[in-house]
Subunit: 266 residues, 2 copies
């Protein structure tokens, strides 16, 4: 396809960013309505929980995308993939942190990313219950609730604050790698899902190490973390894309990222 | 001591409850002022972190207690014990969840208990950053922000939502016991500190298993959990008091508590 035609089909980054915010706005009341109310919990094939709230949020977001950008692709957690060969693909996790959602924890959010030619260019982490929303776009400064945020200038493991959602999500060799980090860092804590990457972008924590993430879990995180000065890659140090294996290392600085990779033996 | 004289020295439960709330009100602005602002972190002899915020909150609370009830005892996390032989002892954790506090997580709170003759009779879990406050008193219904709350009628492990702050806080034999529970419950999550017990009292989670807690960590939890219909004991099934060994099992129902104890081999 000629470059001119190609480029003209892709909305500008400001349009994508603005629409990602609209999608988060659409998600907010749908999700919040079910939070801390009794709801049935189904288990998916991977034993992860899903509820009517996840499904209702994704449905509302998909309808809004189809209405505005019918030619764009969609990759959603609950209702699958459409047109992944489109130049723009919206990547949606209606409720990231469903386990927080069903346990009354406010640490869950809606994740929206726009990937252009497979590269996440725009990302939103919308923590509805906490009224905190991180917005990132390639080449722009990440913002939390409108204010520019930056990662902390943490370059050494000894002062790093490390998070992962659960040590039980690792396979044995992954857990060994994670546990090589543990004695070297300042503080280790758990839980958080997407929230951890927002707090990293805001300079409160410095390192997140996870496995078994899916594109809808990590695509939105890339512009948020990178636009705040951080580094986020897979465990081989490669950029995250649709085909990544779901192992993620995010760090406040390139130096800390390298130190964490070395300590984990990667 | 004659019963009449004895009783006259102890303020009524409503007075203790009201004053516990006042202490939480005093703590709120002092703690919140430091949250998500740069602050020095010292490590105590047990390697747990402490900050100027912990010290400033405890100081403000101790001064208020000394002004109002100079004859009462105080057991605080940072500044030690005074008059533990007094009939009423105030038990204070200025910031429970200091690791959350220093990592920008809103899951930290001030814990205030009034123990009468060594028994926790009044307890407050004040989550300042989340504007959620649980208040419990012996023989009364627990309230979250003024509204009565109850544990969930969860009686079997298969539907239970289990929390502990970190699996790395356990000694090996304790961790073995905890990991016997893991495959039997519906959902396991981490982090939370005192917040877990509030969410248990409100029926969002069902089981909390921890070790290495101190009286200032657990005294306030007892009236909150019990007043919501839950059960909270040490790992021998005994009531929690100043001399407990710091191992805690809290459950939504007596049946679930018994099932958890059995599963852990206790």
């Amino acid at each position: 396809m000629p470059q001119g035609l190609h480029a003209s089909a892709v909305p500008g980054r400001d349009v994508l960013l603005s629409f990602a915010g609209e999608l988060a706005d659409i998600a907010a009341p749908v999700a919040t309505r079910w939070f801390r109310h009794p709801l049935d919990i189904d288990l998916k094939s991977d034993k992860s929980p899903v509820t009517v709230a996840d499904r209702a949020v994704e449905q509302a977001v998909r309808e809004a995308i189809a209405a505005r950008f019918p030619a764009h692709g969609i990759l959603g957690e609950e209702q699958g993939r459409e047109r992944l060969d489109a130049e723009v693909v919206w990547v949606v996790d209606p409720i990231d942190g469903t386990r927080s959602f069903i346990t009354g924890y406010p640490l869950w959010g809606t994740l929206i990313a726009a990937a252009v030619e497979g590269v996440p260019e725009v990302g939103v982490i919308a923590m509805h219950a906490l009224n905190e929303r991180w917005v990132g776009a390639k080449g722009e400064e990440t913002r939390l609730n409108g204010a520019v945020c930056r990662t902390r200038a943490c370059r050494d493991l000894a002062s790093a604050r490390l998070f992962t959602t659960s040590p039980y999500y690792f396979k044995p060799d992954e857990r060994d790698a994670f546990e090589r980090l543990l004695p070297l860092v300042h503080t280790t804590r758990f839980n958080g899902d997407c929230y951890n990457y927002g707090l990293l972008a805001s300079g409160h924590i410095d390192l997140v190490v996870e496995c078994r993430l899916e594109p809808f879990d990590y695509c939105s995180l890339v512009p948020v973390v990178e636009g705040a000065g951080g580094v986020i890659t897979d465990w081989a140090g490669q950029p995250l894309g649709f085909e990544s294996d779901g192992r993620v290392v995010a760090a406040a600085t390139p130096e800390l990222h390298a130190a964490a990779m070395r300590a984990m033996g990667l």
